[in-house]
Symmetry: C2
Subunit: 343 residues, 2 copies
């Protein structure tokens, strides 16, 4: 091994992935889409299978102090299915591997699995395999999700074109505000265990962080209405970051209107309580698992009356992603640092 030492954090998450996969070669003619999108696509004898995988680590991706194990099981499945939705694929199967320390009881694992099965039931997905092993510390979950798609009907991140409309499903920033609330209540509880968490009239934002849903309903609605997005990604790291990925991979730029960002009333209230700008929460808050996609302007009419899809901006030829205020001022959105590996 070389004597040089390059810190992983110096590359950033996406730089690291680019670095590690730079020499990745394909041997199989069946590999249609490899590393670099929400999921991979392989040809299965003329039909196409979509595959994605995610790893969740205790203390990094979840905190068991406020994340009930059943919700964790549900969410672990949901976030993988969300990646399939972002390809416009229909989820069919998952595998699940876990590493657990002996601080977990069988009853605790049953709770976790009940959440896994609840998500599988809701989305008609089969759990077909896995691995159960020991960890020295903490709980690690790895899920691979498999879906199917009509040949060449999958949607990548790289097809957005000049003047396309930028759309998002649902609303943004709620999961982030839910997380802030749970962190606050956890802190209060640790200071005084007699205090019960105050989550009144915060049910929506708490549910958004604890029980996200993959937007398979949106995928099906788009299909039923013959709307073929030009590009698509799911919002796990925040609108700003995902739009930058989408524009970079499409070699375009984009403009988003500040006053078009869909934000739930509870998200706004909570943001005010925390003295945060709701738009900032919507732009940078992660874990909403909504879909961000672009469509041709010709699809405008089909989308206009929709209750769960919002047109928030448009794609530009010139690169760079901007937020535009109601008064017309534009602000460039910049990449956030990836500090997870310093943690």
């Amino acid at each position: 091994m070389s004597e040089a030492r390059t810190e992983i954090s110096s590359l950033g998450e996406f730089g690291l992935i680019d670095h590690l996969t730079r020499e990745n070669e394909t041997h199989q003619a069946s590999t249609i889409l490899s590393v670099g999108d929400d999921a991979a696509v392989i040809d299965q004898f003329g039909k196409q299978t979509v595959i994605t995988t995610d790893m969740l680590v205790e203390g990094v991706h979840f905190d068991l102090m406020y994340m009930p194990l059943k919700h964790l099981g549900y969410k672990a499945v949901a976030v993988n299915l969300s990646d399939l939705c972002a390809m416009m694929a229909t989820p069919t199967h998952i595998t699940l591997s876990i590493a657990i320390s002996n601080r977990f009881s069988v009853e605790a694992l049953d709770e976790f699995y009940s959440g896994v099965y609840a998500a599988c039931d809701k989305y008609h997905v089969d759990l077909i395999g896995g691995d159960t092993t020991t960890s020295q510390k903490g709980f690690v979950i790895s899920i691979t999700a498999i879906g199917e798609v009509t040949p060449d009907q999958f949607i990548t991140r790289s097809g957005a074109q000049n003047n396309d409309l930028i759309c998002v499903s649902g609303d943004l920033g709620a999961a982030y505000m839910g997380l802030q609330l749970l962190e606050r209540e956890k802190k209060l509880f640790l200071e005084n265990p007699n205090i019960q968490p105050n989550l009144q009239q915060k049910d929506y934002i708490v549910e958004r962080i604890l029980k996200p849903e993959p937007r398979l309903d949106v995928v099906e609605w788009l299909r039923e209405n013959s709307i073929v997005p030009t590009s698509m990604i799911d919002i796990s790291d925040g609108l700003s970051s995902e739009l930058m990925h989408l524009c970079k991979q499409s070699k375009t730029g984009g403009v988003v209107f500040d006053d078009k960002l869909p934000i739930h009333a509870q998200t706004k209230e909570m943001a005010e309580e925390f003295d945060l700008n709701p738009s900032t929460c919507a732009l940078n808050g992660g874990e909403d698992y909504e879909l961000l996609f672009t469509v041709k302007q010709a699809d405008y009419e089909k989308l206009a009356d929709n209750q769960f899809i919002t047109i928030i901006g448009y794609i530009t030829e010139e690169e760079g992603v901007y937020i535009q205020s109601p008064t017309g001022q534009k602000h460039q959105l910049l990449a956030q640092g990836w500090n997870a590996l310093n943690g």
Copy 2:
């Protein structure tokens, strides 16, 4: 959550898996084989895909003190491909997720990935996706491997029948003796860091633990010679344990001849040095990743001259797995406890 607390160790590994998957239902007509074999099989529009997944945890499955990162990357892929081989499937794709702490440098990760790519190159497998995340402690690797098989030509663990011949590929116990040797040298090194490890004339057993190969060559040879095993499993936990699985799932028993067990000269020498019975090492030593399979007696002639497959016994109607000595004495093999989760 219930107040009861059942220790995971009280169920054992296989009891735990049975428990957690007892309520697993299938929703997809395409699910041909689910949890409980070396891999799952799903129907892809009339063709069949085989899928398996494994998780490797530092300190549980590997020790970076004597496992070079390049070998670890290679082995992580190899053990998954071995599961596909055990279904008589041809590996095509993998996904790879890792969790790493910041004690690893980019150069260290490069070493690991060079091993992953070496295995992918050798077995013509494409790395098509993955996830790279942070761990609070240690290194966790999760791989999902995908393969293809001619429809209904996959081999399960449950097809062995009375009087079938029991066969193994390669030789047994070498990886276990390699591990004992490395553990001994590690201990000596920790006591006196000036001592260099003495691995002379132990290259075979060291290679067996550090760089196992999936027996795709055996799968291909069986196919070329039109030998269709009645059942098959790969030997990750030791011959004894795997034969018990195979017989249990086939609802049969089996007899293995002590003097037929294929054991390498270096394995025997090392066993003597450690004052161990070589047969015991062959029966109980894990991580050889050889194939254990059964064939009809009619296939005897086809197998007899083979250099890398040994017929070691036969399947019986009566349940229970026995080892028979050259003098004709039979000894029942019993399940070993699973204590990994107490560790």
